[in-house]
Structures are given as C-alpha cells and as structure tokens.
C-alpha cells in the first residue's frame, strides 16, 4: 500500500513551547487512522498541520510523495480536507452551505448530488431551505461534513466530529465514514475520545504531551 501522508521528525513550536515533538507517522492510502490522547496533548495541532492550516516549525511533512509546501495551498486543502469539531455554518440556509464548495470552484450547485449526499446521512432534501439556526446539533454536524465531501478529498481529517452527538447521529456518521473509506477510497484520520470509536479503530495512535505513541 502506498504511503499517502508521511511525517518525519515533525516539530511544532509556539514561542518557547513545543506543542508537537518529533512526530513520525506514515499514513497509507485508504487507511482509517484513529488518533486519541488527552486534551491539550497536541492532537488537533497535528491535524491542522496535516491540513496545511498551520505550518510545522521543522521536520518533513509529505503528501503523495512531495513536501506539502510544494503544493498550492488551496489545491492542497481540497485534497486534504479538515472537519472541525464545532463547525460554523455559513450564510442563512443549509443550501448556502452546500453551495459553497461549488461556489469556490466556480461551478453551479449540483442539486442531485447534494440531495444524494443529504439522503445518505439521513437528511431530507427539504432541509436545503431550512435556516441554519433551526438545525439540531447532529444536523449541523452532518451538513458541515457534507461540505467537506461534495468533492471527494483524498484524506478527510476529522477533529472529534462525533463529540456531543447522540448514539443515532454517531451511528449515521460512522456508517457514512466507513462507506467513504471502503467504497470511495477516502483515507480518514479521526481524532476521538469516544471509547467505542477507539475500540473499533483499525489503526490507533495516541498523542500525549506532543509526542506520538503507536
């Protein structure tokens, strides 16, 4: 299996504080990697580095065999897509959010594709005109996740996206992530504190005090 993302001796420092310390990790294509560890240990920072939202202080971070700095940042973030724990929805309606990935690619929204995606996560097409303020927590998270996959990335970085959701919502998201991974070849890297998700992990790493333990 080819390595899609590789980190070698990666450090991330803010001022004098070393947030990530000598991280070495190889993520094979189509892997399902679960990242866990105590709060403040550096998990989110690790994912944000991988997403190109922040830059490492030193070390080597490669995507598809090339240093990530060699890619155009916008293009890269469409390949390695980061999903936030508590997403902000844009505009006024659900449609405003799902049109956004099309808008930034200067394309008209593909209604059928959007409705199919909504349907897959158990949301009705009528939700498109719904005001974002009227959505439940689980609906918000699902709408936010759809934004990330309307154009499939190579890697989906998920930062505790199921935290605070009920069992039904979690189950929907798990089923969907498995589908993306298995059927659509999307590599997923997911941060979680959830015991069941840790139990079900295919490949588990732990980030503690800025260091990675496999």
């Amino acid at each position: 299996m080819t390595t899609l993302m590789r980190l070698q001796h990666v450090n991330y420092q803010v001022g004098d504080k070393l947030i990530l310390n000598d991280i070495n990790l190889a993520v094979p294509a189509q892997a399902q990697l679960t990242v866990t560890g105590p709060s403040g240990g550096g998990k989110s920072t690790l994912l944000r580095l991988m997403a190109g939202m922040i830059s490492k202080t030193s070390g080597d971070l490669q995507f598809d065999g090339q240093p990530i700095e060699s890619y155009e940042p916008t293009w890269y973030r469409r390949q390695v897509s980061y999903c936030f724990q508590q997403p902000t929805l844009f505009g006024k309606t659900v449609a405003d959010n799902l049109a956004f990935p099309y808008q930034i690619r200067k394309l008209p929204m593909d209604q059928q594709h959007v409705e199919a995606a909504l349907d897959y996560v158990g949301l009705s097409a009528s939700l498109l005109t719904e005001a974002i303020d009227d959505l439940s927590g689980g609906e918000r998270q699902r709408v936010a996740l759809i934004r990330n996959i309307l154009f499939l990335p190579k890697i989906l970085l998920l930062d505790e996206v199921t935290a605070g959701l009920d069992a039904d919502n979690k189950a929907i998201i798990h089923r969907w992530l498995t589908h993306l991974n298995r059927d659509r070849q999307v590599t997923t890297i997911m941060i979680t504190h959830d015991a069941e998700e840790i139990q079900a992990a295919q490949q588990l790493v732990q980030v503690m005090n800025g260091q990675l333990e496999v």
């Binding site: 939202m53 922040i54 916008t74 973030r77 897509s81 980061y82 997403p87 844009f90 956004f100």
Partner: protein, 251 residues
C-alpha cells in the same frame, strides 16, 4: 460681506472651551489635558494654514497647488494608517487609496466644470474629499480587523474547505466596505434636514443666495459618495490579503 469675526469676538468665544473643561473636571472625565492640547493645536494649525493658504492663493501656481494637495493626501493617509494599526503596509495602502479616490473625484469635478483648477477651489475641495475618504478607510480598516478577529473560525473553515483568500474573506470585505460608506450615505439622507453642511453653511454665511449654495452642497454630496465608496472598496481589497501569510494561512 456678512463676516464679522474679529480677534475680540474670538477671544470671548474662547470662553466656550471653559464649558468643556468644566464638564471634564466636574465629571472627572480626565479629558482636561486633551481639551487644552486640542484647542491649542487647533488654533495654531488653523492660523498656520490660514497664512499658508493666503500665500498659495496669491501666487496661484500649478505645482504649488498640487504639492499642497499631496500634503493633504499624505496627512489623511497617515491618519487612516493609525486606524489600520496591525494591518501590514497600512500607510502605503492608505496613501494609494486616498490618492486614487481624491484624484478620480477631483478629476471628474474639474473636467465637468463644477470647479476650476485654482488653489482657492482645489485645496478646500481636496481637503473635504481626502478627509471623508480617510474616515471611510479608517472605519473599513477597523471593521476588517474586528471581523477577522470575531469570525476567525468561519474564515478558517472556508480555508479548510479549499476556498481561496477572496472566497474566504468576501463576506468580511463586503461588510467592511459597507461600514466605510455608511456615514456618507446616512448623511446624504439627512442633509439639509438635520444639519446644514459646511460647504453650504459657509456660502450662506458669506452672503450667497441659499439656492445657489445648495448647488455646491449637492456637488459635495456627489463627490463624497464617490470618494468614500472608492476609498472603502480599494482599501478593503488591498488590505484583506494582509490578514493571511504567504501560505494562505490566517495570521
């Protein structure tokens, strides 16, 4: 001429400053020092400007008039820059913006025959345009800074979805332009109803027929619309990129 202000009447009017000073001391506002400095500065600046303008008007020289306009533009840019504290290159951006918005607006006024290229018309009008552009830019800068701070999460999410810098910032940029233009639009709506603005008041004071005076005020309303909208839009478009680094990450 109806004008009757003399040194004695000015001196007596200066007692009005005591009203502000008394309020500051009585209410413990701590503004007394600023009031004194402000008043002294205003008096000195205006006296100097009065004599400088008198000289410039008398010699009526093309390059001297232009130099005075550039001086006004630079000062306006310097002041706008202070509002843009924390935005990289705020001074050159402000200078370019005020130069363009003042230049375009003045150009239209001169070419349309609304004003003539003589110092007594060009300099006061440039001052009005530049100062309004300055305020518009200052408001736009402040709005950009506040929004990039308050909406940080939203901007990060747009970037994470693969948005370019413009797509990630457009909502903020639009709001900042709106904020910059709002005072001019608001005052255009109430002009003549709430206040008789400076241009018109000045002419009426000097004994000009109010019906003629309003024509100048209408011209001022038009030119300020142009100056503030140009100022706000150019400033926002030039400044928003400075909130990101070369790797298209939010600073």
């Amino acid at each position: 001429m109806n004008l009757a202000v003399n040194n004695t009447s000015l001196f007596l009017a200066a007692f009005l400053v005591l009203v502000a000073l008394t309020i500051s001391l009585w209410q413990k506002l701590g503004l007394d020092r600023d009031i004194v400095i402000g008043v002294v500065r205003a008096v000195i600046q205006l006296f100097v400007v009065g004599y400088v303008l008198k000289y410039i008007f008398r010699v009526n020289h093309f390059w001297l008039t232009l130099a005075m306009i550039m001086f006004i533009i630079f000062n306006a840019a310097w002041n706008a820059k202070k509002r843009g504290d924390g935005i990289d290159h705020a001074l050159p951006i402000s200078f370019v913006v005020i130069f363009v918005s003042t230049g375009v607006t003045l150009g239209v006024l001169v070419l349309s025959g609304a004003i003539r290229f003589i110092p007594s018309q060009m300099i006061p009008i440039s001052g009005m345009i530049a100062s309004n552009a300055m305020v518009a830019i200052g408001l736009a800068y402040r709005s950009l800074k506040t929004q990039f701070h308050d909406q940080r999460q939203g901007v990060l999410e747009r970037l994470a979805l693969g948005a370019g810098l413009m797509d990630a910032s457009i909502a903020i940029v639009r709001e900042a332009i709106r904020t910059g233009m709002a005072p001019t639009i608001d005052s255009a709506k109430t002009v003549g109803l709430v206040s008789l603005p400076g241009m018109m008041s000045g002419l009426i004071f000097a004994g000009v027929d109010p019906v003629r005076a309003i024509k100048y005020q209408i011209m001022v309303t038009f030119m300020l619309m142009s100056a503030t909208s140009l100022g706000a839009i150019i400033a926002c478009y030039l400044a928003y990129r400075n909130f990101y680094n070369a790797k298209k990450q939010l600073k």
